[in-house]
């Protein structure tokens, strides 16, 4: 056996051994399908699971858990108002190709205490690390300003959230995170990524999918307005004429 071959065997064996010693994440989501129907005021999503340590429960395991829930991304244009001739109006704008419609981070401790900034940026652990893919050719300073504007706006709308302390770990094995989806969420496929982090390094990760759909009458209204716009318009006119006429009748009697 040549030296090189021996080296390969050793490397493979080492990789296998360390892989075995890596903990495994078993994630679960309380709801994999969220239906937006009449009376929908938002949903509370429970993301929970276990970190299984090959060295046995309560072994060396001292993990932090970070959960990132991301909504479908979409291209957006951010406009910035400026005061022109005494009136606040939109002046500059900047485009981003992949702004998530929803973004929430929950962690067992503040992100800054868990990982360094580089790791946080790689795994998008925080609203300031969202990869927005700016397009166009304005300078990075300005892009950063627009990105901050977007994050701030969506944070106010409850669409971007950061919740340090939003993950509870019990017995060093079970974790549980709550993320609240507001009523103004976009429909589509959401991904929940869970990271187990030890000593500033991501040691395990897992992904779960959540589907948000408009269902029932609400879903039909949206479909109708998109696909049968003409008949939808007729329906709206008929509704207003009918109710107005009915009101007139009630008046005449009263």
């Amino acid at each position: 056996m040549s030296l090189a071959a021996r080296l390969v065997v050793v490397l493979v064996a080492w990789a296998a051994l360390t892989a075995q010693r890596e903990p495994v994440l078993v994630p679960e989501v309380s709801q994999s399908l969220i239906e937006v129907r009449q009376g929908f005021t938002g949903a509370r999503l429970l993301l929970y699971g276990a970190v299984i340590d090959p060295e046995g429960a309560g072994g060396s395991g001292d993990y932090d858990i970070v959960v990132v829930l991301k909504g479908p991304t979409e291209p957006v244009r951010i406009r910035e108002k400026a005061r022109i001739a005494g009136i606040w109006m939109n002046a500059q704008d900047s485009d981003f190709r992949s702004a998530p419609s929803f973004f929430a981070v929950a962690s067992s401790r503040p992100i800054g205490d868990i990982v360094d900034e580089r790791t946080a940026a790689i795994y998008e652990l925080g609203t300031e690390f969202i990869q927005l893919s700016p397009s166009g050719t304005i300078d990075p300073e300005e892009q950063a300003r627009f990105a901050r504007g977007l994050v701030e706006l969506r944070r106010k709308q409850g669409l971007y959230q950061e919740n340090p302390g939003g993950v509870r770990i019990s017995e060093k094995v079970l974790y549980q995170a709550r993320i609240d989806l507001p009523s103004n969420v976009t429909t589509g496929r959401y991904t929940a990524e869970t990271f187990a982090i030890a000593r500033g390094r991501v040691v395990a990760s897992a992904t779960a999918r959540i589907e948000v759909v408009k269902a029932g009458l609400e879903g039909q209204v949206v479909t109708a307005s998109q696909r049968f716009a003409f008949f939808y318009g007729l329906g709206a006119i008929a509704l207003s004429l009918g109710m107005g006429w009915l009101a007139g009748r009630l008046f005449a009697r009263g």
């Binding site: 937006v36 129907r37 009449q38 009376g39 929908f40 005021t41 938002g42 979409e74 291209p75 957006v76 244009r77 951010i78 406009r79 910035e80 108002k81 005494g86 009136i87 606040w88 109006m89 939109n90 704008d93 485009d95 702004a99 504007g149 977007l150 706006l153 969506r154 106010k156 507001p182 009523s183 103004n184 976009t186 408009k214 009458l217 609400e218 879903g219 209204v221 949206v222 307005s225 998109q226 716009a229 003409f230 939808y232 318009g233 007729l234 329906g235 709206a236 006119i237 509704l239 207003s240 004429l241 109710m243 107005g244 006429w245 009915l246 009101a247 007139g248 009630l250 008046f251 009263g254």
Partner: protein, 305 residues
Amino acid sequence: MDVYLPIANLSVNGLYIVLLGGLTGILSGLFGVGGGFLTTPLLIFYGIPPTVAAASAATQVTGASVSGVLAHSRRKGVDYRMGGVMVAGGMVGALIGAGLFSLLQRAGQIDVVISVLYVLMLGSIGSLMMREAIEALRPGLLGKAGPRVKKRRHHPLVASLPYRWRFYASGLYISPLAPLLLGMGVGVLTMLLGVGGGFLLVPAMLYILGMSGNVVVGTSLYQILFVTMVTTMTHALTTRAVDLVLAGLLLLGSVLGAQFGTQIAMKARPEYLRLALATLVLLIALRMLYGLGVAPDEIYTVERL
């Protein structure tokens, strides 16, 4: 009562929306105005996207004007010929408005234009109403308030237009171009702002066209009815911003509110009501002016591409 609005894509307190519709219903019961000029800005303050607010308010105004048109046509208070010309103008105006809407939307200035138009409109109506109400409450406070001799002749500009038609019910022999242009202007506003435009039409018909008073309100409602219908359809086809649930709640409110309006009108002194309405209108105008001139609610806005 939480209600999810499928097109506006958010959940609102349904009671609030019904009350808002009720407020405009009361106004229509009291003063015979559609009240769209209050619905749109109040919906925007509540967090409804401006386009959805304008589109759904237009749908509500249709409902609010139906019973009015029926009542006025029963007592022959509608000049159909004049109304028809204005509706034709209004339809052209709505289409122009739709073009302007998408043009401004692409330029990113639709919100600013809507706000500026509202400030101008509400500011002028509000101060006129305030003046009228104060004069009624304190005669002689604002100088001479004696009944002015009504000018029965129409505006000289109208008289100079060529190709005259006879409008028997209005008692006019004028060019149809004048009401056509008037209808067009109001149609643009209906599309952009979701207002019926009665508060503009009525004085313009009285003082610019010189129509006889007994057909003015009925004819303006007739124009509003048809133009808001066209506007609803245009919005449904272009902006896709008509929210049926929102419009339904507003309509429910205005149906109930209109009943209240007539009852209140019989009991309370109209001067105080007018004063209250003027105050409300001016407050909204000031609030919008603040957003335009001093500090906007948000520096950044997001548009989905």
